[in-house]
């Protein structure tokens, strides 16, 4: 069976969920071979084996953290040369896409970015993409070289499939360009304790209607009652009410959760681009004409300052709710 290279996104050995989703998709195409780089690479093996990685190729070197992108391209290229895979899958993060693009160019292959699904086809993998702010769905194939495909988070359900997962050292020689762009400082993001925006099953977002930074507390309270991640529209981010890392939309994160709750968000095309593929969409907005209502499964026309706290209370204290059920 053909081998499929999967680039592992991990933090000091802890594998991020999108990589496990990639392993699920990779198994549709062949036998997954994982590539884990940098500090803690070998620690990823157990989680990867549980999800179907046969060997886990690892390489640790300071270059992966100290220089931008190119060392990782060098390593992935070494893995392609060692394995001759049928396809290369990379998580669709900003960095993942850059790594994949440079790799594709080096190995003379085509690249498809931001796939939301992947199937085996007679002429190689067929990737589904969601384009024009998710108003169109396309399927594409790479027609030259080894398909290099980046896949968005939440594109597949993670399935366990225990495999050998033996750790093998990958031999990497860094290129002359590897040390071109130096990382001279790094400030890690503070953890909020909430789920990752792109990985969360539920996202609760606030927009300009939230009206101020302090008011985001009511959005956070609703999110916490549901174990959800918090998102924001660009209007709320530009106003300085919430960090840019939480922005949902074209120039922020693209999310595809089971449930998306938009509060005080009008639903501009650039916002829709980042949330339109959510399974269930709910909105609270005081303007019945707001375009967000075209997308919703359930919408409340009302003031979010009344509706959101009441909803949060109901979730935290369902006894009262059973009283109001018909």
């Amino acid at each position: 069976m053909a081998e499929v290279l999967v680039y592992v996104d991990h933090a000091d050995g802890v594998v991020r969920k999108p990589t496990l989703e990639l392993l699920t998709l990779a198994r549709r195409l062949g036998e997954p071979v994982a590539v884990a780089l940098g500090t803690g690479a070998a620690d990823t093996a157990a989680a990867l084996a549980e999800h179907g990685a046969t060997p886990v190729l690892t390489h640790e070197a300071a270059e992966y953290a100290d220089y931008l992108v190119v060392p990782k391209v060098d390593a992935l290229q070494a893995a392609v040369e060692a394995v001759s895979p049928a396809a290369v899958l990379v998580p669709s993060s900003a960095e993942g896409k850059e790594i994949a693009a440079r790799l594709a160019l080096r190995i003379g292959s085509g690249i498809i970015t931001d796939a939301v699904d992947l199937e085996a086809g007679d002429e190689g993998p067929v990737a589904t993409q969601s384009v024009f702010a998710a108003s169109f769905t396309t399927t594409s194939r790479v027609v030259k070289g080894t398909p290099v495909i980046t896949v968005k988070p939440n594109s597949a359900a993670v399935e366990a499939a225990p495999a050998a997962g033996a750790v093998e050292a990958l031999s990497v020689t860094f290129s002359a360009r590897a040390t071109d762009t130096r990382v001279t400082g790094r400030t890690p993001r503070e953890s909020t304790g909430r789920p990752e925006l792109t990985e969360a099953a539920i996202v609760v977002s606030g927009g300009r209607g939230v009206g101020g930074a302090q008011n985001f507390a009511i959005i956070e309270a609703l999110a916490d009652s549901l174990g959800a991640a918090v998102g924001a529209s660009r209007a709320a981010v530009d106003a300085g009410w919430y960090p840019h890392t939480n922005q949902v939309g074209q120039t922020g994160k693209s999310v595809s959760p089971q449930l998306y709750i938009a509060n005080g968000i009008s639903g501009a095309i650039q916002h829709r681009a980042g949330m339109q593929t959510s399974k269930t969409i709910v909105a609270v907005n005081k303007d019945p004409e707001a375009p967000i209502f075209d997308l919703v499964d359930y919408g409340i026309v009302g003031d979010l300052f009344d509706v959101v706290p009441q909803l949060t209370e109901e979730i935290k204290d369902p006894r009262e709710m059973s009283g109001s059920q018909r």
């Binding site: 850059e98 396309t138 840019h244 919408g299 409340i300």
Partner: protein, 260 residues
């Protein structure tokens, strides 16, 4: 110092974007404009130029159809010095790998110390052309910056990633891309609009860049769109006016869907 800014002419996102019969992005029946995300690139290039003691020439470069000239005009009216339009019928249907080839050849021909581009095009949204340019040109990639400066032949910037915010540094020549967090782009002034009319716009075709037709276009593409279908409209949902019980009704809906 020579700065080349890559700007793309894109179909208006608020218009009705769709595919042509050959499954390429339809550019004929839709209004286009300079990608908003590339305005940030023009802005940062102009600021780098204004903050430099050297003589700086800012060239805006686009690869696109005849109408793409509008994007160049806009960038010139913002303050860029000259423009290059790469236009050729054989470019129709070119993918990211091919576009990066054409841009790289044009950048080399124009001469550069710094290439500045946007974070992603608003139609394709790949966000990979800057990395491809760095690979092709064999120069450092300093991308997705929310802050950028150039001093003494060194480019520095801040890249806000998911896990951390990083400070980056590289020697020129280099390829930079900037995000929409890098600072609002200026509006063209009346004076700028008038001045732009007199600024030079060069037109190059594939033969000017020693590129064969087979290397680009639909036939030269490394990827092929097999199907494109409009996403079915979402079925109309339930919309309720809040009469004091809106939060409770919403909770009932969430319970019925097993979210709580």
């Amino acid at each position: 110092m020579k700065i080349v800014v890559c700007v793309k002419y894109v179909p208006d996102a608020t218009g009705d974007r769709h595919f042509a019969d050959d499954l390429t992005v339809d550019r004929d029946d839709v209004d286009g404009l300079l990608s908003e995300l590339d305005e940030y690139a023009v802005e940062q290039a102009l600021q780098i130029s204004e903050n430099s003691d050297d003589d700086v020439e800012v060239t805006v470069l686009t690869v696109g159809p005849e109408d793409a000239r509008d994007a160049l005009r806009k960038a010139l009216s913002m303050g860029a010095d000259r423009a290059i339009h790469v236009e050729d019928d054989d470019l129709h249907g070119t993918d990211a790998i091919g576009t990066s080839l054409v841009l790289a050849k044009a950048i080399e021909k124009a001469g550069f110390d710094l290439v500045v581009s946007g974070m992603a095009s608003t139609d394709g949204t790949g966000g990979i052309v800057p990395a491809l340019l760095a690979e092709r040109l064999g120069v450092p990639q300093v991308t997705l910056l929310s802050e950028v400066s150039v001093e003494d032949g060194v480019v520095k910037g801040r890249r806000d990633g998911d896990a951390a915010s990083e400070q980056l540094e590289a020697r020129l020549p280099a390829v930079v891309s900037v995000t929409d967090q890098s600072g609002e782009a200026r509006y063209p002034s009346f004076k700028g609009i008038m001045a732009a009319k007199k600024k030079p716009v060069e037109s190059w075709d594939l033969s000017d860049l020693d590129i064969e037709a087979e290397e680009v276009g639909l036939d030269g593409a490394y990827t092929k769109v097999v199907t494109a279908a409009q996403r079915p409209a979402r079925t109309a949902g339930t919309i309720v006016n809040d009469e004091g019980e809106g939060g409770k009704q919403l909770a009932e809906f969430l319970a019925s869907q097993k979210f709580i």
